[in-house]
């Protein structure tokens, strides 16, 4: 199985373990994610606030590149997904297309990596390969906002209570803990521009997580993971409390459930070390 792959910038930086785990599980499953040659910035976090034309033409360039390969374009980042998908939708209108990318034929579709893994046949493929089921691991599925909203763009039908991550957790044998903040905003790109607001939002989510019986959070977005993982120490100090809940990428858990040896390496990169938890659960 082959698809085009748009890694986005964070996979090279803060989300290296995301990239590595994607790499490992796709190799394991025999899926070929072919990196889009010469891909460029999706324009996330600033372009769409500043310049409409730019906000469309940046992703449109990538879409045009992808169309050459006649393969759907998969991206692991929720922000990239949002921008690429928004462009895909916008270019369906002739006026936009004429202005931004007249050569775009609109034959390919943008998919988030999570959606890719949530297709029925993928779930079956994953289920057949589970060697190390995550039994007894209590997991909070956390989608954040851009994966599901706005539904006109993401094409998600149950955006208030999305199920794709839940289904994957269930297939991996983990225990889903339901909560109200599945799709709450983590503050996303505000962390650099307005850290006070972002910290408030992160704190709300972590507070709610602490009140559940969950032992970890799983995400499908480099921004969400970074925000929730990296700020816990800071918030602990502020609040005089202890925030130490591991935050995983779903691909890391897939690797773990497949019994991949290299999984250990990824967890080293987390600020909240998940290894004690995984050892306690005899998963590592």
């Amino acid at each position: 199985m082959k698809v085009s792959f748009f890694p986005g910038c964070s996979l090279e930086g803060t989300a290296r373990e995301y990239g590595e785990s994607i790499d490992a599980i796709s190799r394991f499953l025999g899926i070929k994610f072919e990196e889009l040659p010469d891909w460029s910035c999706c324009g996330a976090s600033s372009a769409h606030c500043l310049n409409e034309f730019l906000s469309l033409s940046l992703p449109a360039r990538n879409l045009l590149l992808a169309e050459k390969f006649h393969q759907d374009l998969v991206t692991p980042c929720a922000a990239c997904f949002s921008r690429l998908k928004a462009a895909e939708k916008a270019l369906q209108q002739e006026s936009n297309k004429a202005k931004v990318a007249p050569l775009f034929r609109g034959e390919i579709r943008v998919l988030h990596l999570l959606d890719f893994f949530s297709r029925k046949e993928m779930l079956q493929m994953v289920e057949a390969q589970i060697k190390n089921p995550l039994s007894g691991l209590k997991i909070l599925p956390y989608y954040g906002c851009l994966l599901v909203r706005p539904p006109q763009i993401t094409e998600v039908s149950n955006w208030e209570n999305p199920q794709t991550l839940d289904n994957l957790i269930s297939v991996m044998g983990g225990e889903i803990i339901s909560w109200s903040y599945k799709t709450e905003c983590c503050g996303g790109s505000l962390l650099l521009t307005n850290p006070d607001i972002a910290r408030q939002l992160i704190k709300r989510i972590l507070n709610m997580a602490r009140q559940t019986e969950a032992e970890c959070i799983v995400t499908a977005c480099p921004l969400c993971q970074a925000n929730l993982d990296t700020r816990q120490e800071e918030i602990s100090n502020e609040e005089n409390g202890s925030y130490n809940i591991p935050v995983f990428y779903f691909t890391e858990l897939l690797g773990l459930a497949f019994g991949l040896k290299e999984a250990k390496k990824w967890f080293r990169r987390h600020l909240i070390d998940p290894r004690p938890l995984l050892k306690e659960k005899s998963l590592l």
Binding site: N158, E160, N161, W179, S180, Q211, T212
Partner: protein
């Protein structure tokens, strides 16, 4: 309309029957009106009972009446009405024809309980093992598969719900009631479970071990996790039986003479023998070998099927008298002919497939080549057959596996299986393969033998070929293709081919033309198993080719049924095809629960011997495993109800029925469905357990609901203290195509909050709303009370999200308060006020009936003809027309009934049934001869109360000449018996001791009346509801209480007297008071039905308030409509118009009123005699004193504006700034009500102005916008058009001043939090509606009024157009403010209600009425004051007089009369006293 009437007269006479679709309150009202007006009515209801949503409600606003209490009498009336036929579980599938003559086809689902036999006792539900969510309780409780929708349901009968055949049963070749026996195991009813299995399979111990269990393959549970361990459960119950001391062999009901011969004692033969023996035939099995069991004995190794177990099942069959003759082969020596000659009347052949199929390769005759079957037979007969050290078994079926595992147990060192396909294609059971591998068997896949190599005549090796898979062959599996040059040699000592068996047909008689297939099997009829030779049947492997045990058993049973039919000369085929579809369930929301695995003996242990490998379940495990069953079919067909129902009402063979009816017109009243709260997923419905819908909350509040009326929340059943309601969930929401207002939610939420606070004053109630829409009669006052008296918090805001606290499951709502502050508040329970959507089947319905729908999916109607659908002759009422409350539904229902009957009025009375009754016996002065019938009610009474003891006791009581006990006193045969006994014993009084007079008294009264007794010579003792049901644990005391209750009833009945009802003729003329829209439409409606009408109008012109209206909100021309009405009414031959008429005196009663009218310029007096009166005196716009009205030409009311625009007196183009102020003089202490129309009038006029002058700035200053129903679309349209809406409240009214430069309006805008100043060119005051002057009329006719002087109907919900005084009706603005369309509906409703009287020639009056003893009356006026119907008056003689025609028999006057001058018939003091003294009488020893 004129044309319509004319063309009708040329047609053949219409059908005097009406079809009513939907049995909710609308359908019920329409049906009753029509049936009481002389028409036959069919009510089609999709549920098992009528009652609709109203039956589910707890209370109704604004009177807080119990919903069930008020609808229940209507249900009973429908149920007992001679001319209403309720078709429950039914739907219309076709409608053809024209108004007056429609053909309808109706599909009725099977109920599986015979309606005319079911007594509603509920014994079936008691034994039913299947529980499903109770939809009537909105799934908050559970009910059985055998159920009654609710206790008061009509028809008063149970039903059994089936979704179809459960997949396990459908896939079982023997058709075993799998779901049924699993349900019984769950309930620990092991014996019953086994009996149920034996209905289809006489070999449960065997099938519990060696069945291929296709049931498990089909099990729906496998879509979720693993299938139910059905085979192990079967084994569990059979092992359980084995552990019991004695086997309970079924009784053979009738012995029959005929003898049947069965050839072969294998599973097919044994099964056929068992079922034939059960039928009473004498059965002999002829078995060629030395042991019965066939392949079960010879083919299956003991480690799978211990011989003792096999013997047990065979013994069970033998105990029924089946003879098994072993060592008796049938063939040339002893042929089938010989059997027939010996007197056997029928033969079943079940000889199986005994021959091994040959490999057909070189070397097959060498020593050491042993066919698999032969090997197993040898070992199973105790012979030793050494195979050497290395054995190759060829084949992939169960025989191959049995051989290898046997060989291992016999000491063979190395065993291979050679199979030419892959493991996936192996036909052997996966668990068998797994166990064989565990025991050390090696399987070579994709390998086939080519040649057996011998040395000295003995096997030494096997040459094999490797295979690859090609295209699928005829078996559907990929065809193995040899790979050239892949030969290799295996060294082996023995080769065992196990590639299949073939059939030995040597038992068949020569010379007969047997039908043999190409495969060498015997051909039979696939359903009856009859061969082509009459009297000879066959089944099992010899027919199917080698197959499974359970297939053979199934075939044997079916053949047995055929043989019995053959011998009894019945049709072999009839009714034997499968009827129900296979039940499918969607495996969502099902909790995973892994399958229980019973233990096995360890590998090391088991390969040493032939001990049974598989162990059974423990009792606990069996029950837990059985509990995993998903009850796919709903009813499990366990057949427990069949045994439990003593009335023999259960019929599991019922099928879908199609009925064809002829009707003259159709009314659709399908109601609504709740809008799915999932559409607003942000509120967490379905995720958070404590977020519930309003209807769920109704059920929680209801005393008969899931928690008996205790308010508790779903998550932990704790009593919630903080409850929030969120309004407009799925209403007023364009984003989900629900742009309309659901009209009722504001009020029901307020009511629920009030009732919740009444249940538990500690509850704090908060309602989050957008506008409070309290637009009905008395609603605003109710809303005010909710705030002031009940301290309910109303918070205006749209809640964006509900968040759940993970631990407490409490819910957090964030909102912006009145001061603009963001508040986070926690609640224990959140109720979503979900809106109304079209009924679930609306699309199918509209297609079937060919009616048009609105874009929202409701029924399309025209505001001036609100009950007419797009198809002539088909009328609509209720929420399907537009979301609405109960009274509007009831009005429309009556209105639709009027329209439906208008079409067929020529056929009035043609299809109705009237009862002919025998003359009544004269009992005056005759000594009472009392008959007492005591009911067991199945086990409902009999199980607690010692009925025979009560009977013996009653015999000792005076005047009792007959006592009997009945299983069900209400059953039809008992009714006949009671009539018989009344005659035989010359009874003149009857007592029934049974359930409740609420449901059954009329039935028994009818019975004694049929026997010639006056119906009042009857008394009922309630020994069920008030005795056995409430004293279940105290049987003795209950028996004593039952005796006392019966003693009291006997005492009372001895003093009862026959009451005679008087017959009075009816004057078929109607008087309509008021010549406005409502009055004119009512008059025309009655006249079109053929009744004479006198219409009195106070003014010298017709039209009333309609004269002030010019256009409706949807653009209709009102003046055109008015002119049309006036023209029609003036030319109608049956209508007399009296203008300038004033009513000056009034008297009489229903059917015979006399009213005096002064009329004309000269005020001439005339007396009008009439049978009914319709009050339509109307209302008018309030002329305000507020806001300088009348002082400035730029200030006017909405009606004045409309008139000026309509008459083109002003041009909206000239006005740029227009302010409209709402609620001027409305919703204030002087006039505390909402006038319902002003919001939409303002929007109507604003839109009109915007249409002419789009640039005009229009400001509507409002308190709550009350555009209910589809009017909401106009509110949306107005906002889109740029009309500006500014809210105010009573504390911050807008201020108006007239300045030099013009008008000045200042108003505080709460959204901007600033005061706005507007200088309008026009100031329009939206004033309410006040009733016309009506005090004199009210006094003359004794008609009650509200404090606001609108007339007061008999009942706010269910009798909206009736006065408490019978024969007088009301409609239009006289009743309350309402828009034209609702006035028109009410006018039609009044017509329909009036027809229920005018349709009859006479009425019966009297019966249970109050009577005054003149001598005792001191004219104190107590009765005059206390009577709720204003009946008593002081007559010319100076004493109280009570008209029998008017008295309702409530007894208030009798109870209050200080002089004891009034007695209520049938409840006279003496009768009550004798009853009470009977209670305190000494118990008779």
């Amino acid at each position: 309309m004129d044309e319509k009437v004319k063309t009708q007269q040329n047609l053949p006479s219409p059908v005097g029957a009406v079809l009513v679709i939907g049995g909710g309150v609308g359908g019920i009202q329409a049906a009753l009106d029509l049936a009481n007006s002389g028409f036959k009515v069919y009510v089609v209801e999709e549920e098992s009972a009528i009652g609709g949503k109203m039956a589910q409600l707890d209370k109704t606003f604004p009177t807080n009446d119990c919903s069930m209490c008020i609808i229940s009498p209507k249900l009973v009336e429908v149920g007992r009405h001679l001319n209403i036929e309720v078709l429950s579980y039914a739907e219309v599938v076709r409608l053809e024809g024209e108004p007056g003559n429609f053909s309808v086809q109706i599909k009725q689902k099977p109920r599986f309980i015979e309606l005319d036999r079911c007594t509603g006792c509920g014994d079936c539900a008691k034994v039913c093992p299947v529980e499903v969510p109770n939809a009537f309780d909105e799934n908050l409780s559970r009910r059985k598969a055998a159920y009654k929708r609710y206790p008061q349901a009509i028809p008063n009968a149970f039903a059994i719900e089936k979704r179809g055949i459960s997949p396990c049963k459908a896939n079982c070749p023997a058709g075993i009631h799998v779901q049924g026996y699993i349900a019984l195991i769950k309930q620990k009813k092991f014996k019953e479970a086994l009996n149920l299995i034996r209905k289809n399979n006489p070999l449960p111990s065997i099938c519990g071990r060696v069945c291929t269990h296709p049931c498990e393959t089909a099990c729906s549970r496998s879509k979720v996790d693993d299938p139910i361990a059905i085979m192990h459960l079967k084994r569990f119950v059979s092992d359980w039986e084995y552990s019991q001391k004695e086997l309970e062999v079924p009784r053979v009901e009738t012995k029959r003479e005929e003898r049947v011969a069965i050839i072969g004692a294998g599973p097919a033969g044994l099964s056929a023998a068992y079922y034939l023996a059960l039928e009473g035939y004498s059965v002999t099995i002829f078995e060629s070998s030395s042991e019965p069991g066939g392949m079960l004995y010879w083919g299956i190794p003991e480690y799978r099927l211990p011989r003792a177990i096999l013997k047990k099942d065979i013994e069970f069959i033998k105990q029924l008298g089946v003879e098994i003759r072993t060592n008796t082969p049938i063939g040339e020596q002893f042929s089938l002919e010989d059997l027939l000659a010996a007197g056997f009347k029928a033969i079943f052949l079940g000889v199986g497939a005994q021959k091994s199929t040959r490999l057909n390769i070189e070397g097959e005759n060498l020593a050491g080549v042993i066919p698999g079957i032969d090997y197993l037979k040898a070992i199973n007969s105790g012979k030793e057959l050494p195979l050497g050290n290395r054995v190759a078994v060829i084949g992939g079926g169960n025989v191959a596996i049995d051989v290898v595992r046997t060989a291992i147990r016999k000491g063979t060192k190395e065993v291979f299986i050679l199979y030419r396909r892959r493991r996936e294609e192996m036909p052997a059971l996966p668990e068998e393969i797994r166990e064989a591998e565990e025991e050390g068997v090696k399987i070579h896949y994709l390998v086939a033998p080519k040649k057996i190599i011998g040395k000295e005549g003995k096997v030494v090796g096997l040459e094999c070929l490797r295979m690859e898979l090609g295209e699928p062959d005829e078996s559907g599996r990929p065809r193995p293709v040899p790979i050239a040059g892949s030969e290799f040699i295996l060294e082996v000592d023995s080769v065992i081919p196990a590639i299949g068996q073939s059939i030995d047909l040597s038992c068949l008689s020569q010379g007969k033309d047997w039908n043999i297939s190409r495969r060498g099997t015997l051909v039979v009829d696939p359903i009856t198993y009859a061969t082509n030779i009459p009297g000879i049947f066959a089944g099992g492997d010899m027919v199917s080719g080698p197959a499974t045990v359970v297939e053979a058993i199934g075939a044997g049973r079916e053949a047995a049924i055929s043989i019995a039919r053959y011998l009894q000369g019945m049709d072999l085929h009839e009714g034997r095809e499968k009827k129900l579809p296979v039940a499918e369930i969607t495996p969502q929301e099902i909790k995973k629960h892994p399958r229980y695995h019973p233990p096995k003996i360890s590998v090391t242990e088991r390969i040493k011997n032939f001990q049974e490998v598989q162990q059974g379940f423990s009792e606990e495990e069996a029950i837990l495993e059985a509990s995993r069953c998903l009850n796919c079919g709903i009813c499990s067909e366990c057949l427990q109800c069949v045994d439990a129902c003593l009335a023999k009402a259960i019929n599991h063979t019922m099928t879908e029925k199609y009925l064809n009816l002829k009707v003259g017109s159709v009314i659709i009243a399908p109601g609504f469905s709740l809008t799915d709260p999932i559409l607003r997923a942000e509120y967490g419905y379905g995720c958070y357990p404590n977020v519930i819908t309003s209807l769920e909350f109704e059920r929680i509040l209801s005393a008969s609901g899931p928690f008996q009326g205790h308010i508790c929340r779903p998550s932990d059943h704790a009593a919630p203290k903080r409850i929030a309601w969120i309004q407009c969930v799925g209403s007023r929401d364009q984003s989900i195509n629900k742009g309309y207002c659901s009209s009722v939610c504001c009020m029901y939420a307020t009511k629920e909050a009030i009732i919740a606070r009444e249940h538990d004053p500690e509850i704090s109630a908060t309602i989050f709303y957008m506008d409070i829409r309290a637009h009905g009669k008395g609603f605003d006052q109710y809303y005010e009370r909710a705030q002031k008296d009940y301290k309910i918090r109303f918070i205006r805001c749209q809640v964006s999200k509900v968040i759940e606290h993970p631990k407490s499951k409490n819910l957090i709502i964030t909102y912006v308060d009145e001061n603009g502050k963001i508040v986070e508040e926690e609640f224990d329970l959140v109720v979503l006020s979900v809106g109304m959507s079209p009924p679930g089947n609306f699309r199918i319905l509209s297609r079937t009936l060919d009616i048009k729908l609105t874009p929202y999916g409701f029924c399309q109607t025209d505001p001036l003809n609100p009950m007419e659908t797009s198809r002539p002759g088909v009328y609509v009422c209720g929420a399907f027309q537009s979301p609405k409350d109960i009274p509007e539904t009831v009005s429309q229902a009556s209105g639709a009934a009027a329209l439906a009957s208008e079409v067929i009025s020529l056929s009035r009375g043609q299809l109705v049934t009237k009862k002919e009754l025998p003359p009544e016996q004269n009992v005056t002065g005759v000594e009472p001869r009392i008959g007492v019938f005591i009911c067991h009610c199945g086990i409902n009474i009999g199980g607690i109360v010692n009925v025979p003891a009560v009977k013996e006791y009653v015999k000792t009581l005076p005047q009792v000449v007959y006592v009997d006990e009945n299983l069900y006193t209400c059953s039809q045969d008992t009714q006949a018996k009671i009539k018989e006994i009344i005659r035989e014993y010359r009874l003149n009084r009857v007592v029934v001791a049974s359930c409740s007079p609420r449901t059954h008294e009329p039935l028994f009264q009818e019975t004694i009346r049929d026997a010639g007794l006056n119906k009042y010579l009857f008394e009922m003792a309630n020994i069920r509801d008030q005795c056995s049901w409430v004293h279940m644990d105290k049987k003795e005391e209950a028996t004593e209480k039952a005796k006392a209750l019966v003693r009291m009833a006997i005492a009372k009945v001895s003093l009862t007297e026959p009451l005679v009802e008087q017959e009075l003729s009816i004057n078929k003329r109607a008087l309509v008071v008021g010549g406005g829209a409502a009055g004119m439409v009512a008059a025309l409606g009655l006249a079109d039905q053929g009744f004479e009408v006198v219409l009195v109008e106070k003014e010298n012109y017709l039209g009333g308030n309609l004269r002030n209206l010019y256009y409706t909100i949807n653009g209709d021309n009102v003046q055109e409509f008015l002119n049309y009405l006036i023209k029609r009414i003036q030319t109608h031959p049956l209508i007399q118009i009296i203008l300038n008429g004033v009513i000056v005196d009034a008297g009489g009663f229903k059917g015979n009123f006399k009213t005096g009218i002064m009329s004309g310029p000269g005020m001439a007096y005339r007396k009008v005699e009439h049978g009914v009166t319709i009050i339509a005196t109307g209302g008018e716009e309030y002329k305000p004193k507020e806001y300088f009205y009348g002082e400035d030409p730029r200030i006017m009311t909405q009606q004045e504006l409309e008139k000026k625009i309509g008459k083109k007196e002003i041009d909206p183009k000239n006005f740029q700034e227009i302010v409209m102020i709402q609620c001027v003089g409305s919703r204030v202490p002087e006039r505390p009500y909402c006038s319902r129309v002003c919001c939409s009038s303002a929007i109507k006029n604003a839109l009109k102005i915007k249409e002419i002058n789009p640039s005009a700035n229009i400001y509507i200053i409002y308190r709550d916008i009350r555009t209910y129903g589809f009017l909401e679309d106009y509110y949306t349209q107005a906002r889109k058009a740029g009309v500006i809406f500014i809210r105010y409240d009573l504390q911050n009214k807008p201020e108006v001043s007239i300045e030099k430069e013009g008008l000045r309006v200042s108003v505080f805008d709460p959204s901007l939090r600033e005061t706005l100043i507007i200088n309008p060119n026009l100031l329009i005051l939206s004033t309410g509606i006040i009733p016309r002057e009506n005090e004199e009329l009210a006094t003359l006719m004794k008609l009650p009024r509200t404090p606001e002087n609108f007339f007061l109907e008999a009942h706010m919900k269910l009798r909206p157009v009736d006065f408490a005084t019978e024969g007088i009706f009301l409609c239009g603005l006289a009743h309350s403010p309402k828009p034209l369309t609702e006035s028109l509906a009410q006018a039609k409703a009044a017509v329909s209600r009036a027809c229920t009287i005018l349709a009859h020639d006479t009425i019966m009056v009297g019966g249970i009425v109050a009577q005054v003893e003149k001598e005792k009356c001191s004219a104190c006026l107590t009765c005059v004051r206390v009577c709720p119907y204003n009946v008593p008056f002081i007559n010319d003689e100076g004493v109280a007089q009570i008209d029998v025609a008017l008295c309702q028999g409530c007894g208030s006057c009798a109870a209050e009369c200080p002089g004891k001058a009034i007695q209520l018939q049938h409840f006279k003091d003496a009768q009550i006293i004798v009853k009470t003294s009977a209670l305190f009488k000494e118990k008779v020893a």
